[in-house]
């Protein structure tokens, strides 16, 4: 295990076609560390769900925007933040989804935080514990 702080920063256009790209970049980042396979898979699933939420919900109405992903190891924790500069978190009675994204994220993570970022947008910070 690495005790230094290792980081990934990535910004892509908020489009469905970029979701695999983000997942593969994070997979590459995880590859550099000895992560159990099941945990790595959980991380990739959670990151995918967070990006899907940005693409489906963050920039409703406005034509374009970005997904910002950052990942870092701090001692025995992996923290991944997914940010958008969209309209802010809002419930939708007309959501195209089944409402499984957030619960899946919460079930996979050691801790998940959702918070608005000024002046607008949402940050979802997911923490995974590397201790067995």
């Amino acid at each position: 295990m690495n005790d230094e702080q290792v980081q990934l920063e990535l910004t892509v256009a908020s489009k469905a076609e970029n979701i695999p790209l983000v997942r593969h970049a994070v997979a590459g980042f995880l590859d550099g560390h000895e992560l159990p396979e099941e945990l790595a898979s959980d991380v990739l699933l959670a990151v995918t769900e967070a990006c899907t939420n940005v693409v489906q919900h963050a920039y409703r109405g406005s034509s374009s925007g970005e997904i910002e992903i950052s990942a870092e190891y701090i001692r025995s924790e992996l923290t991944i933040a997914v940010r958008d500069r969209g309209l802010g978190f809002a419930p939708r009675v007309d959501s195209p989804g089944l409402g499984l994204g957030l619960p899946v994220i919460a079930a996979l993570t050691h801790n998940v935080e959702i918070r608005p970022i000024p002046p607008s947008g949402t940050e979802v910070v997911m923490t995974f514990s590397l201790d067995p």
Partner: protein, 124 residues
């Protein structure tokens, strides 16, 4: 990374198999929904995830919708999750408890047999 594909194969006795290869998420879900719709014309259908390395809740939503449509019209529907299914596939099915809601088989043969219980209309 891994190549992805969605294939549709019609089997004798009017069963359709939709197989997902590689990773699937929001970026391929529209294509998946279209293929699943084509398959619903058959008497029974099987979604084969035995070579699927990744799915997320967007894909799961499409599978659940397809299963519901089939059920509502009295058509058979089954899922195959095998050794070649990726960890994320198993994980999301386990988390959502989906195996309790829809029939899941370990092999395509069993799933096909279940989706067409009475070959050529003759009960066994």
């Amino acid at each position: 990374m891994s190549a992805r594909a969605i294939s549709l194969v019609r089997h004798d006795g009017d069963a359709c198999v939709v197989a997902l290869n590689g990773e699937h998420d929001l970026s391929s879900v529209d294509e998946l929904i279209a293929v699943l719709e084509q398959a619903t014309s058959a008497r029974g259908m099987v979604v084969d995830l035995s070579a699927t390395s990744f799915i997320d809740s967007a894909v799961l939503g499409a599978l659940i919708a397809s299963h519901r449509t089939a059920e509502a019209s009295g058509r058979r529907w089954a899922l195959v999750v095998g050794k070649g299914s990726g960890a994320a596939v198993r994980r999301i099915l386990e988390l959502t408890g989906l195996d309790a809601v829809m029939p899941v088989y370990a092999g395509l043969g069993d799933a096909l047999a279940a989706s067409l219980p009475s070959q050529s209309g003759l009960p066994t």
